[in-house]
């Protein structure tokens, strides 16, 4: 009889992500049998919002995250518009799409080069790139030098994406011009021309550097096409509004709203989104819809290990993000350009579509989506009409409810507002990382990141780099997620990558 060797390891903090995250894994005979992902910062934005003027929500919720403020501004504005019963005019809709596009490009470039790539190559030999663990760096020296140069080049390029956004937003991070009913900026001819040239520089880099780099890394680390698979259920709220249909579910979007379960594409009914709290430090009941969400904290709750609630669709676990959007576009052919990009790339890599459900699959989907978005917004810039209205007038109702569903770079994003006496009575945001980094639900189903870790082989518990790579492939954004560490928590063993 073989003795079972069981250890619990923790990576705290997991750096090179947005925010503060801790990862725990229980490993038995080199295999991860249980996993926990936990944020370690609580700011209480939803509490801060209560009692304020509803219009303030657009500025306040952007401060969830400095990497992805734009989608929060848009989801919040859409929740307000839903509550006010208004829709933006064409210019307002198109200009928001352009800002969101610039933010996607910025976020995807930052994620691959500055957050994730140092998992695969050494980087420069100066702080903050040293110290590092010397392990499993497999790219040849020539590739290493190229990646180092591109890492630095990507810094200069990603700021062009911020500029592209700021031309319409006023500034980035934290956009000024998104307001209920549309935008506050009147388009100018030079905004259009200077956007097009910045986009051209970005497209050149995405086509000639970013995508080739991801493919190079993917070929060297081919085994990571079968590591970190996850649960293969996908959810997207869709990206870029193409019409002014008031019902968000019926609205036409460039990347459509949808979900995939057991290989089949299905529609989304927002009423089926609920949040479980059995593993979360809340005394409020489970299965509440976010629009009726309740938040009664109890840090001493037995059996709980997270301040993240567990959002579920129809009681099931769903992954959100570029993989969800691109794999569904590929399977459904709902976006022919996206489907073609995925198909061509898989063919080039001699891989089947199942390879998308992996660490490298996520990086690949993110890069291809970056190209898709960049190509699309050049057309949108030309749709901006000079001297036409940018904003619809609004009136704050005494009481109303509103919902905004959108996709941040990291995945499906929902904002829900309830207004009473003209003030915010309730505000709930279910952000991409709440889906992906959610704890176990009432049925005991682990969240997507936890599922992606479970089953992974960890050769060296002193250096579990595979786990860090898995978690980073989701591009977690912990600042967006509400969280508090459990006081007095103890971990048996404590080792890092």
């Amino acid at each position: 009889m073989i003795d079972t060797i069981r250890t619990t390891i923790a990576i705290d903090p997991l750096t090179r992500i947005e925010g503060h995250l801790k990862i725990e894994a229980t490993i038995e005979n080199k295999k991860v049998i249980d996993a926990k992902s936990e944020g370690t910062l609580y700011r209480g934005f939803e509490q801060i919002l209560v009692g304020r003027n509803p219009l303030d929500a657009i500025q306040i919720t952007q401060r969830f995250c400095g990497v992805c403020p734009t989608p929060h501004a848009i989801a919040s504005a859409q929740a307000l518009e839903n509550a006010f019963g208004i829709m933006p005019p064409t210019n307002g809709r198109v200009i928001r799409n352009i800002m969101q596009g610039g933010n996607y490009i910025q976020s995807h470039l930052l994620h691959f080069y500055h957050l994730a790539s140092l998992d695969y190559f050494r980087g420069p030999d100066v702080p903050p790139f040293i110290p590092r663990y010397e392990s499993d760096y497999r790219v040849p020296q020539t590739v290493h030098e190229a990646l180092t140069n591109h890492y630095i080049q990507a810094y200069q390029i990603r700021l062009k994406a911020h500029e592209l956004c700021a031309i319409w937003a006023g500034k980035m991070p934290h956009v000024a011009s998104i307001v209920p009913g549309g935008v506050s900026i009147n388009p100018r001819l030079d905004s259009i021309t200077t956007s097009l040239w910045r986009l051209k520089e970005l497209t050149d880099f995405i086509d000639n550097v970013y995508i080739p780099d991801v493919i190079t890394v993917a070929e060297v680390y081919r085994d990571y096409f079968s590591i970190g698979t996850g649960n293969k259920k996908l959810l997207s709220f869709g990206l870029f509004d193409l019409d002014a249909e008031p019902d968000v579910v019926k609205r036409k979007r460039f990347i459509p709203m949808g979900r995939m379960s057991n290989g089949k594409i299905e529609t989304v009914d927002p009423r089926k989104i609920t949040e479980d709290v059995k593993s979360s430090w809340y005394d409020s009941p489970s299965h509440l819809q976010p629009g009726n969400g309740d938040t009664k904290p109890n840090p001493k709750k037995s059996g709980a290990y997270s301040w993240l609630k567990a959002p579920r669709y129809n009681g099931e676990v769903y992954e959100v993000g570029p993989l969800a959007r691109m794999a569904m576009a590929y399977e459904s052919k709902s976006n022919p350009k996206a489907a073609q990009l995925v198909e061509d790339t898989l063919k080039k890599l001699k891989l089947g579509p199942e390879a998308l459900y992996s660490v490298m699959g996520r990086h690949l989907c993110r890069a291809l989506e970056c190209k898709l978005v960049a190509d699309e917004i050049s057309g949108m810039i030309m749709q901006v009409k000079l001297d036409e209205p940018v904003c619809t007038d609004h009136e704050i109702p005494d009481s109303a409810q509103g919902m905004g569903l959108w996709c941040a770079a990291r995945g499906a994003l929902g904002h829900w507002i309830e207004i009473k006496n003209g003030k915010i009575a309730r505000y709930q945001a279910v952000v991409p990382t709440t889906w992906n980094a959610s704890p176990k639900d009432d049925k005991g189903q682990p969240g997507p990141i936890e599922q992606a870790m479970i089953g992974t082989i960890v050769e060296d518990t002193e250096n579990p780099f595979a786990l860090a790579r898995i978690v980073r492939s989701f591009d977690p954004c912990i600042a967006c997620a509400v969280h508090l560490i459990e006081p007095g928590k103890s971990v048996k063993k404590f080792r890092m990558v």
Partner: protein
């Protein structure tokens, strides 16, 4: 306010650490040149701690154009002066305990000689349990403990962004995590390390680089160079309102009452008259734009008391 008191220009020249790094290959071939170069290039250790933050200030500072972020991180921030970014949670290669060991070791090695940059407010409620970073003996280490250790041993502290300077959004009513800005936390912990505030939501890259350059070239700011909120008058000495592009509308009595309408934005809640910052002449993101030029009222993001003092955002104060 006792923002700066005890650090002289000489202290800041001592901030430059004579440490041989990354010149090894030259060292083998041209020892004299190497010695000369080491003499010429001064290195300045920096520890950058993110507390209750959204990372927006880091994302903003890496938008710096001249110098580029490559100049700032890998080369010289100004000729002859190199920053040595020893710890930064979002950018560094190391993770887990290795990353925190790096911060701890750096603070011990360069005790009294490094500059601590803080991004984000500090949660203080219930001994800071609302924000933690790493563990010791199975117990979480609060950001408050990190600030106590890193701040006490630093030569000076730069707060990047309004959250670190004055508390910002996490400290907005009802302040669920008991968050505070660094100056208030230092007062609470009896830490005498001088603080220079570089507020903004986010902090403009030029304000950060400019403050660093000012210190490297001319030493710590004299009291008269700072305002009562610990900010350099160089950047925060005049109001947004006084240099606003919409002053002609104000003079002519043309006010916008709806978003997208031309006119002075006071009726839409513009806080320009109550906000000191050089946005109207500096502009943002490669000088492409700024809030008021995008038809959006100034929300007063560089001010102490932001956001509560400026709420509701879109109503005239």
């Amino acid at each position: 306010m006792s923002i700066i008191h005890s650090v002289s220009r000489r202290d800041f020249i001592r901030w430059a650490v004579a440490a041989p790094v990354s010149l090894n290959f030259i060292d083998d071939f041209l020892p004299k040149l190497a010695a000369a170069l080491q003499e010429a290039v001064k290195e300045y250790p920096i520890i950058w701690l993110q507390a209750s933050a959204c990372s927006g200030c880091s994302v903003s500072v890496i938008n710096t154009i001249h110098p580029s972020i490559k100049n700032v991180i890998l080369e010289q921030v100004i000729p002859g002066h190199q920053l040595k970014l020893l710890y930064h949670g979002t950018l560094m290669a190391a993770t887990g305990t290795l990353s925190l060991d790096t911060a701890r070791d750096a603070a011990n090695k360069y005790k009294g000689k490094y500059v601590l940059v803080v991004e984000g407010a500090i949660p203080t409620k219930e001994k800071g349990i609302y924000g933690t970073l790493g563990e010791k003996d199975g117990e979480p280490i609060s950001m408050l403990e990190w600030i106590d250790f890193l701040g006490r041993n630093a030569m000076a502290t730069l707060t990047v962004g309004t959250c670190a300077a004055y508390g910002g959004f996490p400290s907005a009513e009802p302040n669920p995590s008991g968050s505070k800005g660094v100056t208030d936390v230092y007062q609470m912990l009896n830490i005498a390390t001088p603080v220079i505030n570089i507020p903004g939501c986010p902090c403009h890259p030029d304000w950060f680089i400019g403050t660093v350059a000012k210190i490297l070239l001319y030493g710590m700011p004299k009291p008269k160079e700072l305002d009562e909120f610990g900010r350099l008058k160089l950047f925060f000495g005049r109001s947004v309102h006084n240099r606003c592009i919409n002053r002609d509308y104000l003079d002519e009595g043309i006010f916008a009452s709806r978003f997208g309408q031309e006119g002075c934005l006071l009726e839409l809640g513009c806080k320009g008259p109550f906000t000191n910052a050089d946005c109207p002449i500096r502009l943002w993101n490669g000088s492409t734009n700024w809030c008021i030029n995008a038809g959006a009222p100034c929300i007063g993001c560089t001010e102490k008391g932001f956001p509560d003092a400026h709420s509701p955002i879109y109503q005239r104060r």
